[in-house]
């Protein structure tokens, strides 16, 4: 009797998955754990996060302490990564910059998420004229050269890290909108959405309880990739003087300050470059890993 025969495997899975945990999440975690690159990326991000949290404790010196007598010291004892042209400890600054950069990218991604996802959900679910108009506006936004758009936003709002993040959020809103809209359209065509309607669910409940959880996987991938884009964008804007301003320590700003003395003290450019490279590599590897782990799974039930 097919009714009674439960596949052994899924019984075992049910037990490991726990009572309330989504099957998808548990299976995705297991798939991620089997992917060495994704595992390394997650470990790196955990370490970066710990650095960001404990930056003040880890920093051997005050990152903003100017000591003109010890300027442009080469790496060595006392100052492991040397000092910059104002005599500030580079190691301390790069650690503190980790916090600033991660928080800033969190802001930018969060803002883009909060704006792009609800719009994409509504456009994808409702369709019609509203969707057509909104989608054309988003398309128009995407055709603008990204750097120019950022310059315009900063010109309007004024320089500073926060405004640079708003500019970057504007830049990445379209990608969240498109991912949310496309995934919503495909989930909305599922039979269980029609079943929810037939059971008297309101549109809000359908969007919130049935569609949003369904589009979470592609959004997670997008968040991871966007985070790496934001890190690079922050570095670029700060390098151009449109982002963080002295004496704040960010990787982009450190890079910009380092270029002034690049002929005499080239060692100054490496710490921020390495940090940016490690971070974007970790985010994009995690994104790749997530995309693979969340890929269309074979329907075990069928």
């Amino acid at each position: 009797m097919p009714e009674q025969s439960m596949p052994e495997q899924s019984v075992a899975q049910a037990k490991t998955a726990g009572r309330r945990r989504s099957w998808r999440r548990s299976r995705v975690m297991r798939r991620l754990m089997r992917n060495p690159a994704a595992l390394a990326a997650m470990a790196t991000l955990v370490i970066l996060t710990l650095i960001a949290i404990f930056a003040n404790v880890l920093a051997p010196h005050d990152p903003n302490h100017v000591d003109l007598q010890n300027r442009l010291l080469a790496p060595g004892a006392g100052h492991l990564l040397g000092t910059d042209e104002l005599g500030r400890d580079v190691l301390s600054r790069v650690l503190v910059a980790t916090r600033v950069d991660l928080l800033a990218s969190l802001q930018a991604v969060g803002l883009a998420l909060v704006v792009g996802v609800p719009l994409g959900l509504l456009a994808g679910y409702a369709g019609g004229v509203g969707d057509a108009i909104l989608s054309r506006i988003i398309d128009a936004l995407m055709t603008l050269p990204p750097l120019m758009l950022a310059v315009v936003v900063v010109a309007i709002l004024g320089p500073g890290l926060r405004n640079a993040m708003i500019a970057i959020a504007v830049l990445i809103v379209p990608s969240f909108y498109r991912v949310a809209r496309g995934s919503t359209q495909s989930v909305a065509g599922e039979l269980y959405i029609e079943s929810a309607r037939a059971s008297g669910c309101s549109s809000w409940r359908i969007l919130w309880r049935h569609i949003l959880p369904g589009i979470a996987p592609p959004l997670l991938v997008q968040i991871s990739f966007s985070a790496s884009v934001v890190i690079v964008a922050e570095a670029s804007l700060s390098f151009l003087g449109l982002g963080a301003r002295a004496p704040q320590a960010t990787w982009g700003l450190m890079l910009q300050e380092a270029t002034a003395s690049i002929t005499t003290s080239s060692y100054l450019i490496y710490p921020p470059i390495v940090m940016v490279a490690i971070t974007i590599l970790a985010f994009s590897q995690l994104g790749d890993g997530l995309r693979d782990a969340l890929g269309r799974q074979s329907n075990e039930g069928k």
Binding site: S10, S22, Y192, E194, A198, S199, N299
Partner: protein, 310 residues
């Protein structure tokens, strides 16, 4: 067109569902730049009536518009013309909130139980959801009722915390039935409720539906391409072809003395006489009974467009 509605259902009780002149057309309307767009009349001016506690079987080949009718009478899709009187209200004019209330009293069981339940909700949450969205019930009250329905449909408490992927098709269809029942509806559209199940489970699910009808006096609109099954469960039968009802009458009469030529064709197309023979033959819907050459292409396009809705 034969119409036995009046003679069989009687006037003692108000019908649960009365449909008059129901029409649904798919495709774009003609515009100045597209004078002859591809249009398909999925449902063309049909009349139906379902009495209290009665099962109306709706049969026909694939693409006949059966599933479209099932969705139209619950207004899951908007009709183009016609009136639908469901449980005393004209469902075509209900406002959004009134329609949502109506969904507690008239609901649907879908063909494919693997995809008709949210894969990210537990069985218990899925069953309790229709009650939750109607409001006015407490959490424990909802779950108690859901648990008692779980037992009523033949599952047990061990199933309630599972996710759909952990269960078989027959179990899932029981869950879908429990979900439909939790708001104590008077009318349920069963759209090919056992077509996705294997033969041994079909009978169990059909028996369950019949027992529940006897217990609760629910009316069914039972949509199926399986004529034997419809004969078994339906009190009356409507035969559809290409969006139109060809013949309506008591199940025994329609099957034993079909008045319409198409009904006879459909009956003749039932392969084999024994269950064993039937298992190796193509289903009726897959090979439409010898359409006249002139209607062939229209039938093909009808299948193309309507099939995804089923």
């Amino acid at each position: 067109m034969t119409n036995d509605i009046v003679s069989t259902s009687g006037h003692a009780d108000e019908p649960v569902l009365t449909v008059r002149g129901l029409t649904k057309t798919y495709g774009r309307r003609p515009t100045w730049y597209r004078r002859h767009p591809h249009r398909l009349v999925a449902v063309n001016g049909i009349d139906l009536e379902v009495g209290p506690g009665e099962t109306l079987g709706l049969v026909g080949e694939s693409g006949a518009g059966k599933s479209t009718v099932g969705r139209l009478v619950l207004r899951l899709i908007e009709p183009d013309a016609g009136s639908i009187d469901l449980l005393g209200s004209d469902i075509t004019t209900l406002r959004r909130e009134e329609l949502r209330r109506m969904r507690a009293r008239a609901t649907m069981v879908f063909q494919d139980p693997y995809t008709s339940l949210d894969p990210r909700m537990t069985i218990l949450d899925s069953i309790a959801e229709p009650l939750l969205v109607q409001g006015g019930t407490g959490r424990s009250e909802r779950y108690d009722k859901a648990r008692s329905l779980v037992r009523r449909v033949g599952l047990n408490d061990a199933h309630v915390d599972r996710y759909p992927y952990e269960m078989s098709g027959g179990q899932l269809q029981r869950v879908a039935i429990a979900r439909a029942l939790i708001t104590d509806p008077a009318f349920i559209v069963c759209d090919e409720p056992v077509a996705a199940l294997d033969v041994s489970t079909q009978a169990q699910v059909i028996n369950l539906l019949q027992d529940l009808q006897a217990e609760r006096g629910i009316s069914y609109l039972f949509i199926s391409h399986d004529l034997r099954l419809v004969r078994l469960v339906a009190d009356r039968v409507s035969v559809m072809r290409r969006g139109e009802v060809q013949e309506t009458g008591p199940a025994d009469r329609v099957f034993e003395a079909p008045e319409h030529a198409y009904t006879r064709e459909l009956l003749a197309a039932i392969p084999g006489r024994t269950p064993r023979a039937r298992r190796f033959a193509a289903p009726v819907g897959a090979a439409p009974a010898a359409p006249e050459p002139a209607t062939g292409p229209a039938l093909a396009s009808a299948e193309e467009v309507v099939a995804p809705a089923q």
